[in-house]
């Protein structure tokens, strides 16, 4: 009886192209004046015994059409969503349009780290000139002109002046202008006539000085071990190997235990278990006298390290010249 009506309705629903069309169709079928609604209204006109049956059939028809519309709506909504998404589509697997941020130079990166370690121990960063006179660079540091120790400081000269061979002159300048207690580190560029895989004619040094009453070797040992552990790792130990510098007495080379073998000896440390990282010592009384400090009242320790060497050990860099070549591919690692 309503077969044709049902077939037509379902066919039209199936053919609906978009949500708008479907909504119109729903109104046309199930709206107040919709075809099916109109049919329902005619039930009352049927003979009484037919009414329940017709009512049931029509009700089922109405529900079926409603379900079909719902199903179609969902399907159309999916299609619409897909269309929308195609319009908005960005391939997020493409590389990002990157704004490249630059890189710190490895020497500066290590230097910053060294500074932070000592500053947090109470040291202050002080700088000074690169062009020095030989009094500040040598004589004040208990290294008179004909001292053989000058052999290790082959200097560049500019008439009467020279390029500092270490940043120790900054210590002298600081002591001349301030009274103890003093705790400073002095980073900066220094110059020596040497150029190969382990020497640059210009390199970066950090020197440190601590002057107070009753400063001892035990204090030096604590400070430098702390430093070594902060920069290389908590497991590291240091040892003080007696050495000689004209401006300290006693003097030491400070070795750190090898990070590869832990001190047992391997190729990385030349089978000694130790790597030399810095020079240190107790400030020589003559240095104090030269700056007008009373060596009876004040004692102190000083140390000096090459930032290049520390960086090479930390990052396993073999050729010191890489630092001044500035190959972009090298710099991008830092």
């Amino acid at each position: 009886m309503f077969e044709q009506l049902k077939k037509d309705a379902l066919q039209k629903i199936e053919n609906a192209n978009d949500l708008e069309q479907l909504e119109k169709l729903r109104v046309a079928l199930l709206g107040k004046k919709g075809t099916i609604t109109e049919q329902v209204k005619t039930i009352g006109t049927l003979p009484a015994q037919e009414r329940p049956k017709a009512g049931k059939i029509l009700n089922e028809l109405k529900q079926e059409v409603q379900r079909a519309i719902e199903a179609k709506r969902e399907s159309l909504q999916r299609v619409e969503a897909e269309k929308l998404s195609a319009k908005m589509w960005v391939d997020v697997t493409l590389p990002g349009a990157r704004r490249r941020v630059g890189h710190r130079h490895p020497i500066m990166k290590t230097l910053e780290e060294i500074e932070i370690i000592f500053v947090s121990m109470g040291f202050k960063v002080v700088e000074g000139p690169e062009i020095e006179d030989s009094w500040h660079n040598f004589d004040a540091l208990n290294t008179p002109e004909w001292h053989p120790a000058r052999d290790e400081h082959d200097s560049f000269y500019l008439d009467d002046l020279l390029l500092r061979t270490h940043t120790s002159p900054v210590q002298i300048r600081t002591m001349l202008s301030e009274q103890p207690p003093i705790a400073i580190i002095s980073p900066g560029r220094v110059y020596r006539r040497d150029y190969d895989a382990t020497h640059l004619p210009m390199f970066t040094q950090v020197e440190g000085l601590y002057v107070d009453e009753n400063v001892s070797v035990a204090h030096l040992k604590y400070t430098l071990e702390k430093f070594a552990q902060e920069i290389f790792g908590k497991q590291r130990r240091i040892r003080l190997r007696p050495s000689f510098f004209p401006f300290t007495e006693p003097s030491f080379e400070v070795d750190v235990s090898c990070g590869v073998c832990g001190g047992k000896g391997c190729q990385a440390c030349g089978y000694s278990g130790w790597l030399e990282i810095l020079g240190a010592g107790m400030v020589h009384p003559n240095v104090f006298r030269n700056v007008g400090y009373d060596p009876e009242k004040w004692t102190g320790f000083a140390f000096g390290m090459g930032v290049e060497r520390i960086t090479m050990l930390k990052y396993n860099i073999k050729d010191m010249r890489d630092f001044v070549r500035n190959d972009k591919r090298f710099l991008e690692n830092f």
């Binding site: 490249r100 130079h105 040291f123 202050k124």
Partner: protein, 789 residues
């Protein structure tokens, strides 16, 4: 210095292994860098030649039968001097010889040679030798020669710090070892005969230069027979790195290595009247030394001379005319003490570094001269059959006495930060041959004269510390009370700039401070601060601009196909100001290639305005007003350069490098560069400014496009707008347009102005009036026209 272990053990009995000796010496400050293991390994035995026959296939070879006490071996040799009953050192198959070669049975012209008869070179006893070594000593046939001659003895390679000349002799190192292991130091024996004739009958010494030579000790010996040295002496010299010459020369080297005190031996027959005169050189005197080179003297040297000629430069090197030769029979022996500073000056000015000068300039013991002289005579008698006369000539008018130093107990413990037992301190100091007397407060010590490095209390504290062992000192945290913040304002300012630049995509570089003065002159036409002693010609001055250095980094990358480079450096530049060298810290920035290489949505290349963008960003962050004024600068490209002003003062430059840079450094493409004076910007910067109040009333914006001809500085219009009304909050440019619809040589620049009042909303009408008037004023003032009239 090279220290043969077997030699070292002659003076100290210890059961420590080589490794332990090396480690303990190192930890006492005698740094052992390496333990050298000789290459020789295997079996070398003493054998006797039983039969010598010609080689059937060669006239230049002999075939020999040699007997080692058990077996007879056949060997082929080209050394035709080896005869029957000669005793030789034969190396068995598998033996590695000193020169690295391995012995294998081999057929030589059809005859199988089973073993090798060694030369001195192959035994490591000579640097070069062509003959088979024929043994002179009485050694039983069959003796294992590697062990007998100890030619596989290991050698310590030791680095001696400049303060320890006493350790430039094996006895000095033995003394250290003895102190460390608690064994006595066994001084070597002295045993020789002195004849009755008085030395003064043969030798006379006059010292005129007492300052240069405070002690001159001389001896005389005759009947000397020059020959080569015995094997044990050769081996010790070779292992210590000195080539054997002849017995007398070898003895002098040996005694120097043993005692650390250089000596010299003259051929007595060459000394006129047997009269040695020690005098100061006169400037311009000439002498030919044993290195066969002629030297002109500076007048500071101490000379050993006779009435007619110079026979040595004291403490440095002997002269050719008086050296020991094969015919020498009579010798004069010198053991002197020369002034270290004078030796160093002379050695530097003559550019001669000898084993002798190296030791004298560090300071030898003036008081061991007689011991050293006796040791020399002992060997000359034993090895070269020399006969000594009675006594020595010894000119030593002002005796150098041992120093007395008092070590306070309180000071020792304060400096070391630990307590060392009194008795232990005494033991340590005595083991180093100091004379020690314990008092209530410390130790009264007398320092032996071979320790010229010890003169104050701290020096003795070091001695105690290094023998006691620094590993026994417990670390102790210092209570640092020094005040002040960690970094100076300048240093924090520098850090900020580095962060801005790195964040803007620039890689930080570190470049050498050197440049080539000729390149600087060529490119910038300025004179640079020259070094007196540069390493190379291309590093002969200090760079006047950071571009030298930065451009080397750029060129290094470009040559490796890295073409997009944005780099900077913060460092000193150097110049001369009224003859005084001046260093100033600058910021140098280089830009080349793609602007944003990692951003493929942006294919713009570096440009001058992008570089200026960096400058403007710095201005904004650092709160300084950095202005660029067009200016033609020689080394920058015409039309693309400017100077940077800060409050009217020139503090930098910006621009594109001129093509000469491209040529000199072989780089193609536009290179942009900017350099700023860091210190000047720091002085003017107000990083700590107070923030402006955030306005609460709306802004009004107006835009206008104005046609700008080439060469016109648009900055003038920006400033004009900025000054045009009290309501102007900001002026800027939103577009620069170059189109075909515009006349040639003209661009359209769109300016915008933002107006705002702090206390009310501005009306469109009042702003229209102000803006329109300003634009008209601009047109009148600068003769420019708006694009859409």
């Amino acid at each position: 210095m090279l220290v043969p272990l077997e030699w070292l053990r002659e003076y100290v009995q210890t059961d420590w292994t080589e490794e332990e000796i090396a480690n303990r010496l190192t930890m006492a400050g005698i740094s052992v860098k390496n333990i050298v293991v000789p290459a020789i390994k295997g079996k070398v035995v003493c054998a006797i030649v039983k039969k010598v026959q010609p080689h059937p296939n060669s006239e230049k070879l002999h075939v020999l039968e040699v007997f080692d006490g058990a077996n007879t071996y056949r060997t082929v040799t080209s050394d035709l001097t080896v005869g029957e009953n000669s005793r030789v050192a034969i190396a068995m198959p598998g033996t590695v010889l000193s020169n690295g070669s391995i012995v294998e049975p081999a057929s030589i012209k059809g005859i199988l040679s089973e073993v090798v008869m060694c030369s001195l070179e192959e035994l490591g006893l000579e640097t070069k030798s062509e003959y088979v070594y024929q043994i002179e000593e009485e050694i039983p046939i069959g003796t294992d020669l590697i062990r007998y001659w100890k030619i596989d003895d290991r050698v310590l390679e030791v680095e001696i710090t400049p303060n320890r000349p006493d350790c430039l002799g094996i006895i000095g190192i033995a003394r250290e070892l003895a102190a460390l292991c608690g064994a006595p130091l066994q001084m070597p024996e002295i045993d020789f005969e002195q004849r009755n004739e008085d030395v003064n009958d043969f030798l006379k010494v006059s010292v005129e230069d007492l300052d240069g030579c405070p002690r001159y000790c001389a001896g005389y010996m005759e009947s000397v027979k020059i020959n080569h040295s015995p094997i044990w002496l050769r081996r010790r010299l070779m292992n210590a790195g000195i080539r054997p010459i002849n017995n007398v020369v070898d003895i002098s080297n040996y005694v120097m290595l043993e005692t650390g005190h250089p000596v010299h031996i003259f051929d007595y027959s060459q000394i006129t009247d047997g009269h040695i005169i020690v005098r100061k050189a006169q400037e311009g005197e000439q002498v030919t030394l044993l290195d066969e080179k002629q030297y002109t003297l500076k007048g500071i040297e101490t000379l050993i001379a006779d009435r007619k000629k110079i026979i040595a430069i004291g403490g440095i090197m002997g002269a050719m005319n008086s050296g020991v030769t094969d015919c020498t029979e009579k010798i004069a022996l010198e053991v002197a003490y020369f002034n270290p500073v004078r030796i160093r000056k002379s050695s530097k000015s003559l550019n001669i570094k000898s084993d002798a000068s190296y030791r004298f300039e560090r300071g030898v013991d003036p008081n061991d001269a007689i011991f050293v002289m006796k040791r020399l005579m002992h060997f000359v008698e034993k090895i070269a059959h020399g006969k000594a006369t009675k006594g020595f000539v010894d000119i030593y008018p002002q005796r150098i006495s041992p120093k007395q130093v008092f070590l306070r107990r309180s000071r020792l413990h304060a400096v070391l930060g630990t307590t060392v037992q009194d008795q232990r301190v005494k033991e340590i100091l005595e083991s180093l041959e100091m004379n020690v007397h314990i008092t209530k407060d410390g130790w009264k010590t007398q320092i032996p004269t071979f320790r010229n490095d010890i003169s104050i209390e701290e020096d003795i504290i070091e001695e105690v510390g290094r023998i006691y062992g620094y590993e026994k000192i417990d670390p102790q945290a210092p209570k640092i009370t020094a005040s002040g913040k960690g970094w100076s304002d300048l240093s924090l300012f520098r850090k900020t700039i580095r962060q801005i630049l790195i964040g803007s995509g620039f890689d930080e570089t570190v470049n050498l401070s050197f440049a080539s003065s000729s390149v600087v002159k060529d490119l910038m036409n300025i004179d640079s601060l020259k070094l007196k002693n540069p390493m190379t010609e291309d590093m002969d001055c200090l760079r006047p601009s950071l571009i030298f250095g930065l451009i080397d980094a750029l060129s290094y990358n470009v040559k490796r196909q890295i073409k997009d480079v944005k780099i900077f450096e913060i460092a000193k530049t150097y110049s001369l100001n009224n003859g005084v060298p001046v260093e100033r810290e600058k910021i140098g920035i280089v830009m080349m290639g793609q602007l944003n290489e990692e951003d493929y949505t942006d294919n713009r290349s570096a440009s001058l305005l992008n570089m200026k963008g960096v400058l403007d960003e710095l201005s904004s962050h650092l709160s300084v007003d950095l202005q660029v004024v067009p200016e033609q600068i020689d080394w920058l490209t015409a039309g693309r350069s400017g100077k940077i002003l800060l409050e009217g003062e020139e503090i930098g430059v910006i621009g594109m490098l001129n093509s000469k840079f491209n040529q000199v450094y072989d780089i193609k493409g536009e290179i942009y560069y900017m350099e700023l004076d860091l210190e000047r910007i720091f002085e003017k910067s107000k990083i700590c400014r107070q923030p402006k109040e955030i306005p609460s009333f709306p802004a009004v914006r107006r835009d206008i496009s104005i046609l700008i001809p080439v060469g016109f500085a648009s900055g003038q219009i920006l400033s004009f707008f900025a000054r045009s009304s009290e309501y102007v909050e900001k002026v800027g440019v939103s577009d620069v347009y170059k189109g075909k619809d515009l006349p040639e040589g003209v661009v359209s620049v769109t300016f915008y102005v933002i107006y705002r009042a702090f206390d009310r909303s501005l009306t469109d009408e009042e702003i229209n009036t102000i803006f329109e008037k300003t634009v008209r004023d601009i047109e009148d003032t600068f003769g420019v026209k708006r694009r859409f009239a």
